[in-house]
Amino acid sequence: MDLNLSDEQRLLRESAERFVAESYDADHRRKMANDPLGYSPAVWKQFAELGWLALPVAEEFGGLGGGAVEIGILMEAFGRGLVSEPYVATVVLGAALIDRCGRPAQKQASLPKIADGSLKLAFAHSERAARFDLAKVATVANKTAQGWRLAGNKIAVLDGHAADEIIVSAHLHDHHGPSGRIGLFLVPATAPSLIISDYPRLGGGHACNIELSDVHLPEDALLGDGHDALPAIEWAVDRAMAALGAEAVGIMQTLLDTTLEYTKIRKQFGRPLSANQVIRHRLADMAMQVDEARSMALRAALKVDVAPVERARAASGAKAKIGKCARFVGEQSIQLHGGMGVTEELEVGAYFKRLVAFDTLFGGSAHHYARHAQLGRTA
């Protein structure tokens, strides 16, 4: 039992924090917000050089074999800078799904390219009618003589516009009809009959809706050998939630620091805002919630590889609790900034929006408390 950072972890944290402090300033963020791509390919290259894209990839595929704790360290720093590069889509979700589901040849084809920065991925799974139920997939993959034919509609695909290949989930239908299994397909972003509707995402980055109307794919576009991918999807999403939770902690910490500073400087009725006991207690509550969120993100990271129910409960518990803290810290940061908080003049709004997006991603607090409760009863 030891929750102290190792020396390597401390170094990683320092380098990530330094990078964000030096290269990811307000100017850069403003540029990214108005950029049609929403992130910087040059920064992505830097990520590759710093080894961050190789972080969770196994050593045999040119990676560093890092774990969820290291990802969390990076993500917390990313949160402080409101980094908008497609790291979660490619490195956390994409690499994990390929690593877990892919056949050796598929891993060999993709993982080294993820690690060196030459391949970006996205994961297209959510559908409007499914809400947050990961098991609900209406998109269908019909087996054909040549391979597969996919049809369906996906929404809220994180950074799909940046991806070279998109991992699409679909219900597998063979010659007998529905198989009851979900499969994952590697679909080139340039595939015909694939319509990507890109949009800027709340709080930075992009997302898109994807329409697949009879997308024809070769046999080997299917990741793995046709086993049901739902357990892998749940596992990967739990990892992503742990990573996003750490990012949210970084965002919250920045909001807390900024808001604390503002209340010390801003004067009303002849004295600083922080002279009001109500404001002081509000900030104390914010600080406590940031601390609780930090504990939960760490806990989820430390449990990504335990047995499925315990892992899922840790991930859902973290997502739910951090989401709740994020809403409180975000909303109160706006409130304590007063009029300036509700404009695009200060950065506090952008940080707040990213927290709102965090709470929504993969399901909000209520959804994950309910999942936590449900899992508790099956445990």
Binding site: R128, Q335, G339, K353
Partner: protein, 398 residues
């Protein structure tokens, strides 16, 4: 005690419904539903104001002699409720509800004759120059200065959060004409033609992406002394009168109810994967609905007291607080209801005249901007913290 309307009141209700059915166009309705900021754009809002004016309903709160309809409080309630239910445009209140009452109460005969008809008809479009960058909730710390020069004042300074300043042709403003012992002294209430040389307007985008407010700069702006309302240096009194008006005048529950209904409809639709089937969403809809019921009853109790000439006491802060908190609960519920689709940002405005297919269904377009813009409700017009200070002081004596 009776919660139901009497025959007379029911007749009036029919009349209002008839008026709305005849005058509210589909375009106005859609534009209103797709406006995530507080007020409708002037083309929509003023079209409605003109229709109201034609009916003699242009200024519900004004005395008959200036063109008010002489409604009872119950009629006022019915009018507001039916308007909210139908989704009529949100007419910018700066004219009829804000500057109008001040001119009626403290203006000269010339000012009344000139301005009031132009407010009623919608010929003038007003904005309010109160807040300044440094003032916040401490409004009377304002620094914009008007220096007397013959028959004019020369104004220098800046105002902020000026709603629709980019549309308005007139502004009513609080400016400092002298320095008194208290910072509330020496403030005057001035009417300014927005076309006067030296006025510049800078847009401020809200957190939801709307251009509704502005910063206005005054650089040696020359305004006739005749444009001052009431006495020099007494402007704070007039301005406070307006703020009270702003806090207390609300019959807010009807609009909140319609806002909740829109969210509940989304929750019951396939567009959200029937969000309402989640116990959390269903229960929260009920929680908010009940909060609106409570606010409505409080409003009706105030109304009944007014009806019999009683003073309902210092409840305006409670109404303001509850309205803003419930509004935030409604808009936040909206974000949770639309789920994944809350990620999508649509930066173009107005939303009812997009020239492209939006990423999410039209009924969802305002949900996130309304949540984000809605954060302002607990800030503007005195923060919730200030309102609680007021309640503690005025109602509890501490």
């Amino acid at each position: 005690m009776d919660l139901t309307f009497n025959a007379e009141e029911r007749a009036f209700q029919s009349e209002v419904r008839g008026f709305i059915a005849k005058n509210l166009t589909e375009e106005m309705k859609r534009a209103t539903a797709l406006t995530p900021s507080v007020f409708s754009d002037p083309d929509i809002g003023m079209a409605w104001q003109r229709a109201l004016h034609k009916q003699g309903w242009g200024a519900p709160g004004w005395p008959v002699e200036y063109g008010g309809p002489a409604w009872t409080p119950a009629q006022r309630w019915i009018f507001e409720t039916e308007s909210a239910r139908a989704g009529v445009p949100n007419v910018n209140v700066m004219g009829v509800k804000m500057v109008g009452p001040v001119i009626i109460g403290f203006g000269s005969p010339e000012q009344k004759n000139f301005y009031l008809p132009r407010i009623l008809s919608g010929e003038d479009y007003w904005c309010q120059g109160y807040s300044e960058p440094g003032s916040g909730s401490d409004l009377s710390s304002l620094k914009t200065r008007a220096v007397r020069d013959g028959d004019d004042y020369i104004i220098n300074g800046t105002k902020i959060w000026t709603t629709h300043a980019h549309h308005a042709n007139r502004m009513f403003a609080l400016v400092r004409t002298s320095d008194g012992p208290r910072q509330q002294d020496g403030i005057s209430f001035i009417l300014i033609d927005m076309k006067t040389p030296g006025i510049k307007t800078r847009p401020i985008l809200t957190i939801g992406g709307d251009h509704e407010v502005n910063q206005v700069f005054f650089d040696d702006v020359r305004v006739p002394v005749a444009n001052r309302v009431g006495e020099e240096g007494k402007g704070w009194t007039y301005g406070k009168y307006l703020l009270e008006f702003e806090r207390g005048s609300g019959i807010a529950s009807a609009k909140l109810r319609e806002g909740l209904k829109a969210i509940a409809d989304l929750a019951a639709s396939d567009l959200t994967g029937r969000a309402i089937d989640s116990a959390d969403i269903a229960t929260r809809i009920s929680e908010v609905e009940v909060d609106i019921d409570a606010l409505e009853m409080t409003e009706l109790r105030v109304l009944s007291a007014l009806q019999t000439g009683q003073n309902p006491g210092a409840v305006s802060s409670i109404l303001k607080l509850r309205n803003s908190e419930i509004r935030q609960a409604v808009t936040r519920l909206g974000v949770d209801v639309i789920g994944h689709d809350a990620l999508a940002v649509e930066p173009m405005r107005p939303l009812y005249r997009l020239n492209h297919e939006p990423a999410i269904p039209e009924d969802m377009l305002t949900v996130v901007p309304e949540y984000l813009n809605g954060r302002a409700y607990t800030i503007f017009g005195g923060t919730s913290e200030i309102q609680r200070d007021i309640i503690a002081k005025m109602m509890l004596g501490i």
